[in-house]
């Protein structure tokens, strides 16, 4: 219980997000109508993704300093969870755009930047799978991870704001500042964001623990055989 309290918190926060997100009052906006509630699911997913990728990069840096395989495992699993959230974010955003912007992919700078960012991280996965030797794989993918994150942030935060964009927060559209986001929505948005982040941590946690078990099993097999 001492170690698992945050998992229970995850479940509570996400159930809260589902219930309050669908039943609570939201601003009545034209074009968006009820789909404004996607704020609690699509947008929070992207924030969770960025957090996962940030943690992944931090573990990459740690690996380069410590050379501990555990750090590389964690870096890889957080990146994979981040990529999962990113793909889900793209799909949910595309579905949302289909009904509010008229088409699923309107060639918007933010969307294209997000897609490029996802491709960069897919390449990270490819890179990892192309190495047999664990140490080399870990070192090279750690370096790539750091560069990938360093490029990813300007790509999705800076570039779209420099030009016209449909996407909220870019191209002069309102987004999350205190003047833009309705206070009622904030009450659900922040807990939901934390809930999704914790969910990503939970999934990554399960995955790198499985990795560690597999590694120990392999070592024991090698010793035995």
């Amino acid at each position: 219980m001492k170690n698992n309290w945050w998992k229970i918190l995850t479940v509570i926060l996400l159930f809260y997000a589902i219930f309050q997100g669908l039943l609570g009052t939201v601003p009545r906006q034209p074009i968006l109508n009820e789909s404004i509630r996607n704020l609690y699911f699509h947008v929070t997913m992207w924030f969770a993704m960025i957090t996962m990728l940030l943690v992944s990069m931090v573990y990459s840096v740690r690996y380069l300093r410590s050379n501990l395989q555990a750090d590389d495992d964690k870096s890889a699993e957080f990146a994979k969870t981040g990529i999962l959230f990113g793909v889900l974010g793209c799909i949910t955003g595309s579905l949302w755009a289909n009904f509010t912007w008229g088409e699923p992919w309107p060639n918007d700078p933010k969307l294209n930047s997000a897609a490029v960012g996802m491709l960069i991280y897919f390449a990270y996965l490819l890179l990892r799978s192309s190495f047999e030797d664990e140490q080399r794989r870990a070192r090279i993918s750690a370096v790539y991870n750091i560069f990938a994150f360093a490029i990813f942030l300007p790509l999705i935060f800076v570039l779209p704001r420099l030009t016209d964009s449909l996407h909220p927060g870019n191209g002069g559209n309102p987004a999350f500042s205190s003047y833009d986001l309705d206070s009622q929505m904030r009450l659900v948005f922040y807990p939901a964001g934390i809930g999704w982040i914790l969910l990503g941590v939970w999934i990554s946690n399960l995955r790198y623990r499985t990795k560690a078990i597999q590694r120990i099993n392999n070592e024991r097999m090698e010793i035995a055989g």
Binding site: I18, N33, L206, A212, I213
Partner: protein, 75 residues
């Protein structure tokens, strides 16, 4: 006193444009009917059920991994 009353009347004239606001209820289409019917609970129920399923899966996976970790004596 002689100047304050005209001042207040003048200032309250600014609120005349509030009469132009229409009832928001009729302006933007929302899921009011779903709520009136109570059908919104179906939506909530479906999503909550899906999520409950995923959480159950996570919890079972977590306990399986914990068990193996205990067997192998990992931290």
């Amino acid at each position: 006193m002689k100047r304050i009353v005209p001042l207040f009347v003048f200032l309250s004239l600014f609120s005349i444009n509030l009469f132009a606001q229409q009832s928001v209820q009729s302006d933007v289409a929302m899921a009011d009917l779903m709520r009136a019917d109570g059908k919104i609970w179906v939506v909530v129920g479906v999503i909550a059920l899906v999520f409950a399923g995923i959480v159950t899966y996570l919890i079972r996976l977590d306990s399986k991994i914990s068990k193996i970790e205990k067997e192998l004596n990992i931290k």
